[in-house]
Subunit: 309 residues, 2 copies
Amino acid sequence: MSKVLIFGHKNPDTDAIASAISFAYLQNQLGVEAEAVALGEVGEETRHALDYFKFEAPRVVETVANETDKVMLVDHNEFQQSVSDIRDVEILAVVDHHRIANFETANPLYYRAEPVGCTNTIMLKLYKENNIEIPAALAGLMLSAIVSDSLLFKSPTCTEEDIQAAKELAEIAKVDVNEYGLEMLKAGTDLSEKSAIELIDMDAKSFPMGDKQVRVAQVNVVDVNDVFSKQAELETAMLQTNEAEQYDLFVLVVTNILDSDSVVLAVGNPIEAVEEAFNVTLENNKAVLKGVVSRKKQIVPQLTAALTK
Amino acid sequence: MSKVLIFGHKNPDTDAIASAISFAYLQNQLGVEAEAVALGEVGEETRHALDYFKFEAPRVVETVANETDKVMLVDHNEFQQSVSDIRDVEILAVVDHHRIANFETANPLYYRAEPVGCTNTIMLKLYKENNIEIPAALAGLMLSAIVSDSLLFKSPTCTEEDIQAAKELAEIAKVDVNEYGLEMLKAGTDLSEKSAIELIDMDAKSFPMGDKQVRVAQVNVVDVNDVFSKQAELETAMLQTNEAEQYDLFVLVVTNILDSDSVVLAVGNPIEAVEEAFNVTLENNKAVLKGVVSRKKQIVPQLTAALTK
């Protein structure tokens, strides 16, 4: 059997990268020849975590069927968020914490999803169930993923299990969660070098909603003006991307990680769906979304509902 | 919150019924108000197991949205095998051992699938993970499901984990696996009272394969002639069902549980897919399938491959 490749979603965030690394290490310990790879370059936040705990970024792959016939998915399941040739390989396992959609297999598989805030919270369980010890550096990387997905436990997706898992991992990694966590989150908000195209693609996912294709991008900041000073370029880039990728609607959510509010910028059709989903009026294509920080819980379900009536 | 309903697939077999009961008991112990229900009347084999361990058959429901907004699925995930109004309720959890297809949710959920032979093998794990004790009678019912799905450990779907789980459950239930198991399997093969229509609907599932709708029914026997003495009526019933339900192809697999071979009877289109899938030539619409006992591993993937080129 060729080596099993393990990867998170396209435009990988810290959880996508860290869960590929943590699941690959677990599989290796269980005797499975597996390698963590990535469906894109890592961002600044993830780079900070990898450097801090002395990991290399996983090798980036464009396709997988050219080198293996068996894969495992982490932190995603929807095929449009996965590798382009996902239908040409067998999916042996999935570990995830998202809704299940646009996913299917021909054969039975191992599928472990739980409605928690971070894939690595589930990974910690899997290590315990299999009695595998977590090295300190890996615990630090897994902790980084929980901090990232939960915005230091402030996101509504964060559960008590995530908080407990973070505490356990911080003890193994011997770091102060709040100090390290804020430092890592801030590393991800340095957008000074980013072009408009880069900003709208840093953490973007596509979702079919009703009969529309919707792109939802999210950027974390400590000051929303860091992004909106480039609003005109952003809108141009979003419209061009809609045309090139055949998205109907592009929704950019800029989240202030300090006060846990967001500002949404939307272009495309039907733009009214955005107003309806969040019960706001767009002005200059923008609106403040008070208390909204989670794409998964506070954006995608609401947009899906508005677009599938 | 209204009571959570927990159910297995339509045309419930012993695992569908037993896993609904075992998961509902687990949820109750965890403080969730849940009730096991069924998407159809139980068959003779399941009746034998329920009677032996003194359980009532779960209440049969046609729809669920009229009484709850939250459900949990066991032993299935494909919507066409589920309750007719599955899209009108939220799926909180799935515990299953089949491929994943024709399934989606709007929200994150608990999904536990493992490539083992029986849902109740996974249930035993869940009881252990949650430190919940299994009452002797329930252990007997869970054991019955493993015996049923594995044909007393002879099916290629049966894994070492299923065998170990059956041993553990038999100890708790204080029954002899082989003696009780064969008695239960034989109870399911008394077909003397069954009409052709009943025979082809006892354990039947629908699968989209390529652009075809395929119905795959399976009947366990100790003598295949018990069924094929009615071949003409069976073919008539299968053709009528194809027309009424818009199936393209109806495949009936009659499995001898003593020698672990099957005979397939097929009607509809494209009938050549059956010959190609199993590398046989149909004579009088029938062919022997040596060593074939598992719909999941030895029938559905092969037919799917033949129909999706």
